[in-house]
């Protein structure tokens, strides 16, 4: 494929960054997105934001949704996909994934490693990306593990399996950083008789790091102020990648995603965020959110949770399958996430469980794996619903998606078909084994 062929051509010498960007843009244009005028017709369009449209159509232009409705006009030369009355949903968004990281999920040698960049470990050829795609997932947030209190900076990918590494990155997605708490850090470091081995230790380590970051930020702010004033003798402080990343947290430049189970720890994390002046974007797992949902709602913190997983460790003992809906009813923005290669392949079923446990409506359930998940990642203006102007990341389903029987028939990303169940082999137009 063109994407991959282009990556094999290494620039002979170091060239200006601008030139590389231009090349990348050229590659993107000659890639699979070339046939970018598509009309999907005869579908039950589950828009997520404005109900279902029976016998609906979606017109895609330049990889974006250009029109949605029952009466949509498209140019005569647009590629037509007849959905045959099947359901059409936005691509599924997994707001908590560890796929494609080849076990490099935890730099478990220090509890504070915010300078770890997931991009450096991103194994873009991992078949789990393909299997998620075949399950309808088009966007995932690849997070660090929870061995460390602060694990590192995440990446957001689109599941364009067969494309090159950079083509899989979600363009312009905000940066997220993974925090953790509870059993995992204390087990990892406690097991080595190191700090932290208790929840006291966990939070102390985190607080200590944030205090250092405050000082570091101040030094840089002072320096920058001097430079601004024209002080030519001002000496820049020494750069420290770890503190630089944390300073960005304090400056609100990173979305803070916190692995946290127990209700008391959810509250402690929110208190700490207040103390240091940053915002928590979402709590992940958050299996006891139902106990303090009103408090999460008041702070505008989302949750990315399991539908019904429980009992795998002590801090998951009070997990109940009604967590998602009980929290939602209190005003919390709820996403159902995979945290597993397995669940990433059938998040639609996991979301459908919320209809049974607590009575979520179809749209509420679907939102938990689309728009709400997109909000947690910070890309809800780009994906997560079938609205004009959004990326044409779409799934045509065999069967009703919110059931045991929903299976993706076709998956489009940026208007291009990346998975087609009817195709032989892996079912991917842009990929063959051995590429």
């Amino acid at each position: 494929m063109l994407h991959r062929a282009a990556t094999r051509v290494k620039p002979p010498i170091r060239i200006a960054a601008g030139f590389i960007v231009a090349c990348a843009a050229a590659v993107a244009q000659t890639g699979p997105a070339a046939h970018n005028e598509v009309l999907i017709k005869n579908a039950v369009v589950m828009t997520v934001t404005h109900g279902d449209i029976q016998n609906g159509s979606v017109y895609i232009k330049d990889g974006k949704i250009a029109a949605v409705g029952q009466n949509v006009t498209a140019p005569a030369d647009a590629t037509v996909i007849d959905a045959g009355g099947k359901y059409l949903t936005p691509g599924i968004i997994d707001s908590h994934s560890h796929i494609a990281l080849d076990d490099d999920v935890n730099e478990a040698t220090s509890p504070i490693t915010p300078q770890m960049m997931m991009l450096d470990a991103f194994d873009y050829q991992d078949k789990a990306i393909y299997r998620g795609l075949a399950g309808g997932v088009t966007t995932s947030l690849l997070l660090h593990g929870s061995a460390n209190m602060i694990g590192g900076q995440a990446i957001v990918i689109k599941h364009k399996y067969g494309a090159n590494r950079d083509a899989m990155l979600f363009p312009g997605a905000p940066r997220s950083i993974k925090f953790a708490s509870g059993e995992n850090p204390k087990r990892v470091y406690g097991g080595r008789e190191q700090l932290p081995s208790t929840r006291m230790g966990n939070f102390e380590v985190q607080r200590e790091a944030l205090v250092q970051a405050q000082e570091y930020m101040r030094e840089w702010d002072d320096y920058n102020a001097k430079v601004k004033k024209g002080d030519k003798d001002a000496k820049p402080p020494k750069r420290d990648l770890k503190l630089e990343a944390l300073a960005d947290v304090l400056r609100g430049k990173l979305l803070v995603q916190i692995h946290c189970y127990r209700a008391d720890e959810l509250l402690t994390e929110m208190a700490m965020a207040k103390e240091f002046g940053y915002k928590v974007r979402a709590f992940h797992h958050a299996l006891e959110a139902y106990k303090v949902a009103d408090k999460l709602a008041a702070e505008g913190v989302g949750i990315a949770t399991f539908s019904d997983w429980w009992g795998f460790k002590q801090e998951a003992w009070d997990a109940i399958p009604w967590n998602a809906v009980m929290s939602m009813r209190k005003g919390v923005r709820v996403a159902i996430k995979s945290d597993s290669e397995d669940f990433a392949r059938r998040l639609n079923q996991e979301a459908a469980k919320t209809m049974r446990y607590g009575g979520a409506t179809e749209e509420e359930a679907l939102k938990m794996i689309t728009l709400n998940a997109a909000w947690i990642i910070g890309v809800d203006d780009r994906v997560g619903s079938i609205d004009v102007g959004k990326d044409a990341d779409l799934v045509i389903w065999d069967g009703y998606p919110l059931s045991s029987y929903g299976v993706p028939n076709k998956v489009l990303i940026d208007g291009d078909v990346y998975f087609d169940r009817a195709l032989p082999g892996f079912g991917m137009p842009h990929y063959k084994e051995g590429m």
Binding site: R131, K313, P321, M326, Q349, R356, Y405, F426, E433
Partner: protein
């Protein structure tokens, strides 16, 4: 359970007489859940539901009568005689089906996965542990059991974990009872033989231990079965000598000492019913080579066996079919190999069914056994006929485990393990409204519903 005033009206004085308000029904439910062993229960009639009988089709607007823990009558409305003393429950709009059966679980052997003190899953000191009996560890009061049965699972195989080639013997349980005694329906019902490679002791060179390879696993298994054959022979010789001695002494009044019995060996003794073909071995393998090696071993010792998992044996499914043995599939959520298509494992049940293989689903889980029916539903999405999927968690496992005379369908005379739900049992959206186990109306509560209710009020 559907109470009065909900759903379409059904006619008949008997029904309206027995229609109860929700509150009364709950009180009754609690009363009925008290120990009832040894005393006659008031018959319960489920009227107006859609009955999925498994053996004789679907009965719309059916009637099911439960009495003395058994199914006393099943049929279409009007065709079934309703006992005068029965409590009639209107279940119109509901679906009624037999309790679901999980063909491999760890229920009662674990509470919190990561907490060692709560786990009794497998003995790792040796690979040949046939004398381990899960009934000795089975924790009847486990919080997992009510959580599980609330989703309509009423029976399960409890197996030791799979890190040993012969980790011990399975029991078949019922998910309700006043004690482990009552819940353990069949002890030592079968014995797993695991041959997946996971049983090798090859985690590191530093901690290497026999068997380090599959060759070691096979050699060790072969030796164990040979030793058991030898042990059986020693006992047979002894019995023979003893009976000869007895006959002799009876006639000759010989004062000769009776022969000394061989020393008892629990490990080898445990293998005997399997070597004699009295009970099935549950032969677990994943890929073709392991499968063929394990089947070879089973044949060498003339073991009766069913297959387990075979998640990556797609290339040899005709060979599997030719073995004419049932296959426990699952979990079908097993990842495919990198070279396999995404649906290679999802479609395995359909592929086996097509070849005439009898299949049953297993959760191979503890906390998530409750999701067993969704696995069957998912297999439908990948080509398994719906009726077969339902059979694979009801009648098929009952037949495989030798309990089909009591379980697996809505038939007269069978144990009244009956589920009432608001829809398709295989769909994730379906809510189970009431479960009956041995005719007892199970309180629809668990540790989880209590937490839900406690925090819903705040």
């Amino acid at each position: 359970m559907r109470a009065s005033g909900v759903g379409p009206q059904t006619s008949g004085a008997a029904v309206s007489r027995w229609r109860l308000a929700v509150g009364q029904l709950l009180v009754l439910a609690l009363c009925l859940s008290l120990p009832t062993v040894g005393r006659a229960q008031q018959p319960i009639v489920l009227k107006g539901g859609k009955l999925l009988t498994i053996t004789h089709g679907v009965i719309e607007n059916g009637v099911l009568v439960m009495a003395n823990g058994k199914i006393a009558a099943v049929g279409a409305a009007g065709a079934v005689n309703i006992p005068g003393d029965a409590r009639v429950v209107d279940v119109s709009g509901m679906t009624v089906y037999p309790g679901l059966i999980d063909s491999e679980s760890y229920l009662g052997l674990t509470e919190i996965s990561a907490e060692k003190s709560t786990n009794d899953l497998v003995e790792l000191s040796d690979e040949i542990m046939p004398h381990m009996h899960v009934f000795d560890a089975f924790h009847a009061e486990s919080a997992l059991i009510p959580v599980t049965r609330l989703n309509g699972i009423t029976n399960a195989i409890v197996a030791p974990d799979s890190q040993d080639t012969l980790p011990g013997q399975d029991s078949f349980i019922q998910l309700d009872g006043n004690s482990a005694e009552e819940m353990l329906l069949v002890r030592d019902i079968a014995m797993p033989l695991n041959f997946t490679g996971e049983q090798r002791r090859n985690q590191s060179w530093e901690r290497a231990k026999f068997p380090f390879t599959r060759m070691g696993m096979a050699a060790q298994l072969r030796q164990a079965f040979l030793d058991a054959q030898d042990y059986a022979q020693r006992w047979a010789d002894y019995e023979k000598k003893k009976s000869e001695g007895e006959t002799k002494s009876a006639s000759d009044k010989d004062k000769k000492q009776p022969p000394a019995p061989p020393k008892r060996d629990l490990k080898l003794e445990a293998l005997l019913p399997y070597l004699e073909g009295k009970k099935p071995i549950v032969l677990a393998a994943e890929g073709p080579s392991d499968l063929e090696t394990a089947v070879g071993l089973a044949r060498e010792f003339k073991l009766k066996f069913v297959l387990n998992h075979i998640s990556h044996s797609q290339p040899v499914l005709d060979y599997v079919a030719a073995l004419k043995v049932p296959v426990i599939v699952g979990p079908i959520y097993e990842d495919p190999k990198p070279e396999e298509r995404y649906d290679a494992v999802y479609s395995l049940p359909a592929q086996l069914y097509k070849r005439g293989v009898k299949i049953a689903f297993a959760s191979v889980e503890a906390h998530n056994v409750r999701n067993l029916p969704y696995q069957a539903g998912f297999a439908v999405a990948f080509g398994l006929p719906y009726d077969e999927a339902l059979k694979a968690i009801t009648l098929n496992p009952a037949e495989i485990w030798g309990v089909a005379d009591q379980l697996g369908s809505l038939d007269v005379g069978k144990t009244a393990n009956v589920v009432v739900a608001n829809g398709d049992p295989l769909d994730v959206k379906t809510d189970v409204k009431q479960v009956f186990i041995a005719g007892r109306e199970i309180p629809m509560t668990s540790r989880q519903t209590r937490l839900r209710d406690e925090y819903s009020g705040r």
